[in-house]
């Protein structure tokens, strides 16, 4: 009698609830901070190559982490994909990720762009650089991030809000390199040199430089790439008036962040998830990041698009990326104190 009920319950619930709770090894579920537009085409290729089904939810990084945390061991997510390393660090410290070992990933990705214990792996690189007005600025004057607080830049700098994670990670990297006090002084000095109070996104900073509202700005490289290929003429023209400068080339190198991914602790489709990460670090996918969104490949030796080539070679800061996560909250507090809105 008891057995009968038990069978009935299991049967009826599995019909009612459908495929959601049936673990299939032929699919992977992703929580992605990368926008659909910037990941789906790659996933489509993976599906075509392997026959593994990929399900995607996109959203804000921290909101997705919260969802993963609340869902706990029942979470359907296999992969957490983020656009900045601090989110991966946060997910790792909340024990939402699990370490994986894959020779292919380890061989493909340089050690400083992946977690030492294998909790997360970088998939593309995003650098925060200086852009300057070609007609008004001599790039010789622009050696480092640190030099942006010199008096000659008073009223000439544009940068977006300190709520932006890329600003937070840049400041976190400076805390890691120069210490809190020096960075506090730097942030306060930078705020004094602002041409206007922070507003808009990175593209807006580039436009402001183009039009003369300021002379230099801190932006991520791919926004400049996107503007150079924009459908709107104004954007294209604005982008052509500015040039990219790689800061700190004589010391630690330019600041780099990653977009990357880790496998969730609750993952039910581990093998397929690892295969997807391997695919995303493979030749085809790496070239695609550069081609479609002007991001740099995390793998050395990948041919990059003309746009990226014309920006020249660079030295990247080889900081341990974990530190960007560790100092994220400190960076925010520091910027609050500096009055960086």
């Amino acid at each position: 009698m008891y057995m009968k009920y038990r069978l009935l319950l299991v049967l009826s619930s599995s019909i009612l609830l459908g495929p959601q709770c049936q673990a299939q090894n032929t699919e992977v579920n992703i929580y992605s901070e990368r926008k659909e537009e910037l990941i789906q085409p790659l996933l489509d290729r993976f599906i075509a190559d392997t026959g593994i089904k990929v399900n995607l939810v996109t959203g804000e990084g921290d909101a997705l982490i919260k969802r993963l945390e609340i869902e706990g061991r029942n979470s359907p997510a296999d992969i957490l994909l983020t656009t900045d390393v601090a989110r991966l660090y946060r997910a790792k410290s909340l024990e939402l990720l699990q370490p994986i070992s894959s020779d292919e990933l380890v061989n493909a990705i340089p050690a400083n762009f992946r977690d030492g214990e294998g909790y997360w792996y970088g998939l593309s690189l995003r650098s925060r650089v200086i852009v300057y007005a070609k007609d008004r600025v001599n790039p010789e004057q622009l050696p480092t991030y640190e030099a942006m607080i010199n008096p000659e830049w008073k009223g000439r700098i544009c940068v977006r809000s300190s709520s932006n994670p890329y600003n937070q990670s840049l400041v976190a990297s400076m805390i890691a390199r120069n210490g809190i006090e020096a960075t506090q002084a730097w942030a306060s000095g930078l705020v004094k040199n602002f041409a206007r109070s922070p507003r808009g996104g990175d593209r807006d900073q580039i436009k402001a430089v183009a039009v003369g509202e300021c002379d230099i700005a801190l932006v991520n490289t791919y926004y400049l790439g996107g503007m150079l290929h924009s459908d709107i003429d104004d954007e294209k023209q604005a982008a052509e008036k500015v040039a990219l400068f790689w800061p700190n080339q004589n010391d630690r190198g330019a600041h780099f962040n990653i977009s990357g991914a880790g496998i969730s602790r609750s993952a039910k489709n581990q093998d397929a998830a690892i295969r997807l990460l391997e695919f995303l670090s493979g030749d085809e996918a790496q070239a695609w990041y550069a081609e479609m969104n002007h991001e740099f490949p995390v793998r050395p030796g990948i041919a990059v698009s003309d746009t990226l080539q014309q920006w020249g070679s660079y030295i990247a800061d080889d900081i341990n990326l974990d530190q960007l996560g560790q100092y994220n909250a400190d960076a925010v507090r520091l910027m609050d104190r500096a009055g960086w809105k």
Binding site: N55, T58, K66, I70, E71, N74, R199, G200, D204, R333
Partner: protein
């Protein structure tokens, strides 16, 4: 209409003891369930985070509060002007375009605030077409002339007012239409000029309705994240997310949200108290045909321009630029997937609208019939979600859902050695729940206002001539409520259509809406690509907005609009 009556009929309480208790019990249980996300937010106070509060108090909190207050005051002032004056003019006067403006003034309702913010930035920015034209025309360089900055607190006030004034317009126009013309005529015969009649009689009579609209506007202003974040204005809401994402403390973020909620509750209570002393009733139910005064000459031109401006700036100008951008990009953005986005958006918005309205009816009737402090509090509480940013509500929805899922899963694991996984989390049920928790305020306030028009004496009269409760509802209540119910359905529909954060975080795999598509592209700063989905939102929303406007025009008792 009869199906709707059948749907609503079971929710009407009868005055017999037992059913009354059952009704009251259900009412309280339903409101408590709907308030779960709010409790989840409030419960964050159990986790003390003194060092974060110390930091906030020392550095940015003052600015958050100040900016939010300025934003609220500014939006309140501007929406009142943009809403009430055109409402009065198109209701009482005839002038060129006035018939078209009656519905055109509602169109900005179809525009999500962050889209209008992105669009106007594109238009008015230093490198945008307007300033470029100005420079080409005059030969000035940047910095040699003054131009208003869009991305400022003034800009945010303007953007939000453009899309929010229709609430005031909608509600105050309905109020003006319903006003007994006798009161106005008496005022005129007592020697009041048109201005004095407006300020001394019409406006005070419409005040309760206008306050309802204003409270919706203010709640939406406080919950707005997209616009202020893009404009770089540190408000209370951006502070919530900065605390959560940047400082990594979701507990402190939830505490900030709870404070925001308390603030709104206090405001609503204050308003309620201040209104208690003054009561405005129409003494006569005689409605003669509204004779609209025909304006001529200078007055007509002035009124026309005054009423055109909000619709022009809040709708036509941004739409023209969106069309221009969409023209450049539709080839790569509009594909077969696009239709499914539209379908998803419409389906979600329609179901949420119907559910929210039925629930609102259930609660409004409950509050009317079983009026004790407890039910009143319960009902008012469930309308508080509107002031809370969508992402925070979404987390509040996830917590109880995951709890239930864990309970069921645990039961099945221990008894049947079988894991049910997540049953409710990550489904459309969760999304729908979040919509109701957020937008119930809109339907509740609208239905409440409609129900208030039906005086208890009408019920008594109906009952005394032997009408059964069901007939009373069908013959008396429904005809009088029809406009309010429609308004509730359509307002929630449009709100859900534009809703972003809760959908984004709660939706199931591989499920997208137009709003998500527009946001993802705009957030990548690809304005031109975002134009197509934004236009699609506007197009879908326009249909109900126009319908709504027409039905209000026709709702005046004794007013034959076909003439």
């Amino acid at each position: 209409m009869s199906t709707a009556v059948d749907l609503i009929y079971p929710t009407i309480p009868v005055r017999t003891g037992m059913t009354r208790h059952i009704y009251a019990g259900t009412l309280i249980i339903v409101t408590l369930i709907l308030s779960l996300p709010l409790f989840a937010v409030i419960s964050s106070f159990l986790i003390p985070v003194p060092d974060i509060w110390h930091h906030l108090l020392e550095t940015v909190l003052k600015e958050y509060v100040l900016n939010s207050l300025i934003l609220m005051l500014g939006v309140a002032g501007l929406t009142l002007v943009l809403g009430i004056i055109p409402a009065w003019l198109v209701t009482m006067c005839r002038f060129p375009l006035s018939r078209t403006l009656e519905w055109a003034l509602l169109l900005p309702l179809a525009m999500p605030a962050y889209i209008i913010a992105y669009t106007y930035t594109g238009i008015l920015d230093t490198s945008g077409p307007v300033q470029t034209l100005l420079r080409d025309f005059t030969g000035w360089q940047y910095g040699e002339y003054w131009f208003p900055e869009v991305r400022s607190i003034g800009g945010a006030i303007t953007m939000l007012s453009f899309v929010l004034y229709p609430y005031i317009y909608l509600i105050s126009r309905a109020a003006f239409i319903e006003q007994s013309i006798c009161a106005l005529e008496v005022a005129r015969t007592l020697g009041c000029g048109p201005y004095k009649t407006f300020f001394r009689v019409a406006l005070p009579l419409a005040r309760p309705a206008i306050i309802v609209g204003l409270s919706l506007v203010l709640m939406e202003t406080l919950a707005d994240y997209g616009t202020v974040q893009y404009f770089g204005i540190a408000t209370f809401t951006t502070g919530i997310f900065r605390t959560w994402f940047g400082l990594g403390s979701s507990a402190a973020a939830a505490q900030l949200s709870a404070l925001l909620m308390l603030f709104i509750a206090a405001l609503i209570y204050l308003e309620y108290r201040s209104r208690k002393q003054q009561r405005y009733h129409h003494t006569s139910n005689r409605y003669s045909t509204l004779t609209q005064k025909r304006l001529r000459g200078k007055n007509a031109v002035f009124a026309g321009i005054l009423c055109c401006l909000p619709a022009l700036l809040g709708f036509l100008v941004p739409v023209i630029f969106l069309i221009k951008w969409a023209w450049l990009t539709y080839g790569k953005i509009v594909d077969e997937q696009f239709l499914s986005l539209m379908w998803n958006s419409i389906m979600l918005a329609a179901s949420a609208a119907v559910i929210a309205t039925v629930l609102a009816l259930f609660m409004a009737y409950g509050k009317r019939r079983i009026s004790n402090p407890f039910t009143r509090f319960a009902v008012n509480l469930s309308g508080m979600g509107y002031a809370i940013p969508g992402t925070v509500i979404a987390v509040g929805v996830m917590l109880p859902f995951a709890w239930v899922d864990k309970l069921i899963d645990g039961f099945f694991r221990t008894h049947f050695d079988y894991s049910t996984g997540l049953l409710l989390s990550g489904t459309l049920v969760a999304v729908m729940f979040a919509y109701i928790a957020r937008f119930l305020a809109v339907s509740l306030k609208t239905v409440d206002a409609g129900l208030a028009k039906i005086k208890p004496s009408m019920d008594e009269a109906g009952r005394s001539i032997g009408l059964k409760p069901s007939t009373l509802i069908r013959k008396v209540h429904m005809p009088m409520m029809r406009g309010s119910l429609l308004t509730a359905v359509l307002l929630v529909f449009v709100d859900v259509l534009k809703e972003l954060p809760a959908t984004l975080i709660l939706r199931p795999f591989n499920f997208n809406t137009l709003a998500i598509r527009a946001y993802e592209l705009a957030n990548e700063e690809r304005l031109a690509d975002a134009a197509c989905p934004s236009l699609a939102i506007v197009l879908v929303a326009i249909v109900p907005v126009i319908y709504l406007s027409r039905s209000i025009s026709m709702s005046r008792p004794g007013h034959d609009y076909s003439a």
